[in-house]
Point group: C2
Amino acid sequence: MSGIFSNKCEYGLRAAVYIAALKKDQFVSIRSVAEALDISFYFLTKVLQTLTQANIMNSYRGPNGGISLSRPASEIHLNEIVIALEGRRSLEGCVLGLPECGGENPCPLHNRWMDIREEINQMLGSTTLQELADQNPVKLENIIKSAG
Amino acid sequence: MSGIFSNKCEYGLRAAVYIAALKKDQFVSIRSVAEALDISFYFLTKVLQTLTQANIMNSYRGPNGGISLSRPASEIHLNEIVIALEGRRSLEGCVLGLPECGGENPCPLHNRWMDIREEINQMLGSTTLQELADQNPVKLENIIKSAG
DNA sequence: ATAATTTAAGACAAAAAAGTCTTAAATATA
DNA sequence: TATATTTAAGACTTTTTTGTCTTAAATTAT
């Protein structure tokens, strides 16, 4: 009974927004992110490794190492993060899970779901980390631990 | 890496639409539904038990027993099925999984996601099994096994 | 009554997701 | 060079989801 996305994906999105909001041009340690967001350090490490492999983040080892966005926050869209962590199926698949479902072979919910899927993809594909990082500070604070 | 809903929920939706489309006023055996939809009989039994407990279906044991919709298909909305099988959080929760997120305490994605959540709830809350069952037969056939 | 059919309930098993830990590799600094 | 710091990789454990099976209960028909 989790949310619409997996924990992995929720954590990845939260971490990405957090890092973007720091507006720091050095590496940020995963440990500090994990503590700020109240996420298991070990698990977050795995999640961010995936984002690094997907070329969304950069990592650097050693003292003063950590992770950073691989590009300006204005060039990272949320759908990249979701696809890296959740897979394409979550954004492109049939609601009923039918692999054959598509334009010429629509399931009973196909058309109705298409509209929603479009909206989701539109939103995630057009929203950048920059936009989220530039929001009202109240909204940003709500992803960090002290808010909970 | 599954779809937007769990397997349980996908199966429940497919079975409900299938049963509605049969337009049969007797009980339909779970076994026949499982075969038609190519879903494990055992697992489907569990899923439909949940829908029966949620008062969406009726069941009856013994020869000629099986399951049926507990109400006219025109009075069963998709959101009921999703809530019964997937939980309220999937339709009402924060995209980032933050329990505190809400109107006065919005996460960075809150407003954007609200719009989409609204659409999803609107669609699922207004679409009935009847409407899906009355669609173009091609769409209906695509939930059954022979289509795969 | 007896046997056959069908769902209910609960135990059980397998697979996937979530989370933890250890060791290795890279890097910086003393 | 030696030590400390930090991510990478992979083993491992726990929890949840998914799927299977067995037995019980309800019901029908013989």
